[in-house]
Symmetry: C2
Subunit: 242 residues, 2 copies
Amino acid sequence: MIELSGNQQHGNRATGRAENLAEGIYHKLKQDIFDFRLLPGDRFTESDVAGRMGVSRTPVREALFRLQRESYVEVLYRNGWRVRPFNFEYFENLYDVRTILETAAVKRLCEQEQGAAQLEDLKRIWLVPASERLTDMSSLSALDERFHEMLVEAAGNDEMARIHREISEKIRIIRRLDFTKPPRVEATYLEHGKVLKAIMQRRADEAQMMLRAHIEESRREVRKITLHMLYSARADADRDAM
Amino acid sequence: MIELSGNQQHGNRATGRAENLAEGIYHKLKQDIFDFRLLPGDRFTESDVAGRMGVSRTPVREALFRLQRESYVEVLYRNGWRVRPFNFEYFENLYDVRTILETAAVKRLCEQEQGAAQLEDLKRIWLVPASERLTDMSSLSALDERFHEMLVEAAGNDEMARIHREISEKIRIIRRLDFTKPPRVEATYLEHGKVLKAIMQRRADEAQMMLRAHIEESRREVRKITLHMLYSARADADRDAM
DNA sequence: GAGCACCTTCTTGTACACAAGTTTGAGTGC
DNA sequence: GCACTCAAACTTGTGTACAAGAAGGTGCTC
């Protein structure tokens, strides 16, 4: 079985205890932002959210503070909250850090004497005949995110993996736009395969180069379509609200 | 004038507004942990802190949640809070990530056509005759932390700098133990100087090697004395409490 | 004396009331 | 019509009361 959801322990399933209200609201709000139900720049109040979710302001504030620290929203002193406006430099910077962490992880993977178990999982997913490839865009987008996360996890540094996972989540909102065109899907399979093979052959420089090129390619695609997608998402939401 | 305190905007000085209670409690609690007034493993309750600080539980909870997300403390379900026990693997991992980020930053600095302004500040501090060197341990410890932070800041990626700053803060509690012996002070001046000179000469590989060796040296020192220091700090605190 | 059930106490989680401060717009003077 | 004043309506920040649940001690049973 392949772990797709990451290890972020949504609702304390490990202890069998139900998740807090604050925790649930945190995830709901974040999903609202990811799905453009809350658009960058949108303003709202704590009471809005509390009313909509049917809870008091207390857990809402807890969730908002967490989202604020992760820079998804910001508070205006005694004047409401708003979803953080889009900032392309911010995403560019995150892409850079992501590249740094992933190439460092890949280098380590090539230097480790025994291959990490996670690598086997990745091979089973990405090194498959063309006929067995997934074509569903949204699954593929999630799978791509997991590919990169698992590369870092395989390197064995939990803190590096945690930081990388946070970055991955932050850029998810624009990254999945990469998977709207079929050619990129095929390229993704190809490029992931090359990275994995290079790692298996312990060719650190080659693996890093492949990975860097792959991320750069994806970033270039995303750069082209982001603005357009963003505006159409906004237009859709506006139309729905009328 | 050299900026020593980082740019973490303690009390919204930019807007001239007084800081929140929660913000103040957050900083006080974190300082308590850094100064071993709160020891790893220590348990406490929200009411304890609220009473001690003379506020209600609300801002205390806000501060605690933030400290929890930064993994300084952890909550035990309906059973109080505790300072996160020491975990050496955790610090080792953070040291690794720090090294990755700093070497990447240095590489960029060597590749940038025009030198960053921050580098000039660093030269004025670290490339001085032996007679002008600081000897006060605690100032030097802070200055050392700023050296590494400014290296990353100079690379121009705000997110990378933010992540690095968070890591720096987390390892501060053990890192400053490096500055208890005079020989390390001299070595620090020497090693920082070498890194800066290599950057000025655009020798990326050499600069990275120097930096990596410097961090490794510091880490080795810290590894040796951490356990001892930790236990004596605990003993001191216990004696004070009697 | 040992083990177990129960109950008290204490802890966090949530709701709600009030305080402090910002925005907005109606109303007034000119 | 325009600028200004001022107050009402909101919004976040903080304090407080209550709910849900865990821990530990106490007394009872055997």
